[in-house]
């Protein structure tokens, strides 16, 4: 009997050790991206992409009670809020697709154009246009009052032609 009890205690202790040593984070659907991006030499932004600051001048200016507030400026990316009467209604951005080449794939299915450049809706709140096969200009609504047609109209207020010449 004592032998069995000892055996059970030992078994219990080992299983406790086993269980506690395995209390790691549960697998995540983002593990793949984590592993790839922490491997040697991995980058999310390439040197050849444009500086974020070079995009600022192509954004629409303040007008008629609308206010533009720049919020992010990182390599290959610039972002601004669009506010009306102090309220955030949309987010506007320009990004260099050299940093995320698969982002241009969606434009192959585009059926309409803004200023001659292909445009698509993305997700439930976004509309994007691809300029010069390289720069993605995107607007996302942050308020239900800012509709798809507002997004299209504001995309047209960017200096898309100027941006297409940015080298």
């Amino acid at each position: 009997m004592i032998g069995l009890r000892k055996f059970l205690v030992a078994l219990l202790l080992t299983s406790v050790l086993f269980v506690t040593s395995c209390t790691q984070q549960a697998p995540s659907r983002f593990d793949g991206a984590q592993q790839e991006s922490t491997s040697k030499g991995a980058t999310a932004v390439v040197d050849s992409s444009q500086s974020g600051g070079s995009f600022n001048r192509y954004f629409p200016s303040d007008s008629n009670g609308y206010q533009r507030v720049y919020t992010q400026e990182k390599k290959g990316f610039a972002e601004a809020k669009l506010k009306k009467d102090g309220q955030e209604i949309a987010i506007m951005s320009i990004s260099d697709t050299l940093n995320n080449p698969t982002s241009v794939d969606k434009f192959k299915e585009s059926t309409s154009k803004i200023g001659g450049y292909p445009t698509v809706n993305q997700g439930s709140t976004g509309t994007a246009v691809l300029v010069g096969d390289r720069y993605q200009v995107k607007i996302r609504s942050k308020d239900a009052s800012f509709t798809e047609s507002d997004r299209t109209s504001w995309l047209g207020k960017f200096d898309l032609k100027g941006l297409s010449k940015l080298k």
């Binding site: 995540s28 983002f30 984590q34 991995a42 001048r57 992010q72 972002e79 995107k138 996302r140």
Partner: protein, 296 residues
Amino acid sequence: MSKSIFELVDNLPDNNVTTMMLRSLDSIVPGQWENTVGFENTIHKVTGESDEGMIQQIGDRAVRLYNDKSQGYLRAMWLYQTVDRTDRALGTAALANKVGDKIPLLGGLLSKVTPNPDKAQSLDLCIKLVVELVAFCQINGIPGDSIGDFVGALSDYSGESLMRMAALVCVDGLIPLGPDFLLKAQSTLGGIGPKDLESNSTFSSVKELIPGGNTKGQLGFIGNSFDSVQGWMANFVQERNLTPQKVMGNLQGFLEFSENKLDYVAAFIDMSTNYYEHTGTQTLARRLIERAIDEI
């Protein structure tokens, strides 16, 4: 190895001393802070998207951006984590002693904390402010083409960022230093030299990421940063009529203490909470996710 951004956001607590303290300050910045935890949940909250394919793409891009050292996110996270020197055991002990919804700050708990002298507390306040400024630039870059654009971006603080600044003013300013905390901080900064700064433990922990070259330069940078935001802080206090008594009333929503122990309340909150790390993680995740959805 440092943790992934999804682990950090997934591991944010729903309820601990930090969240209790932040909730108690809600009436100072009404409705600005919601304790959003969990990476996928944050993606959903920030973007409004619930399509699984979109969430996967946004999350993958955010993970990659976070891990790219050149992008500054890792440095910002390190700053937010390092400037909070939390004694987790004290937080756990405090929660274990909870009576109803409140932690009684009496007897045993009280004996575990030591109030910071005014000089050290003033410096802590200034260093936390500088950390915010440096982390802001690491996360967002320097948006726009002019100083005006940059100030516009700074004054556009909302959500968890505004709550972090509210907590800074309240629990690192008004409560430990009193209503003239800005003057005290300014006179402390004006009266110290590089040696004093070196001996401050908060400074030593984050000094490698404070601009300025050497300690003297860093002291100058801290002074300039403080000067540039003290107007904003004074306004914040004035617009809301904030006083130590008023903040005390807020804190009494989760903490039981006697009114003559304010310095102990400040020391207890300093040691048992990590509100910079908690809300800083939320801010960083939000900005990263905003960028990720724009880049996919």
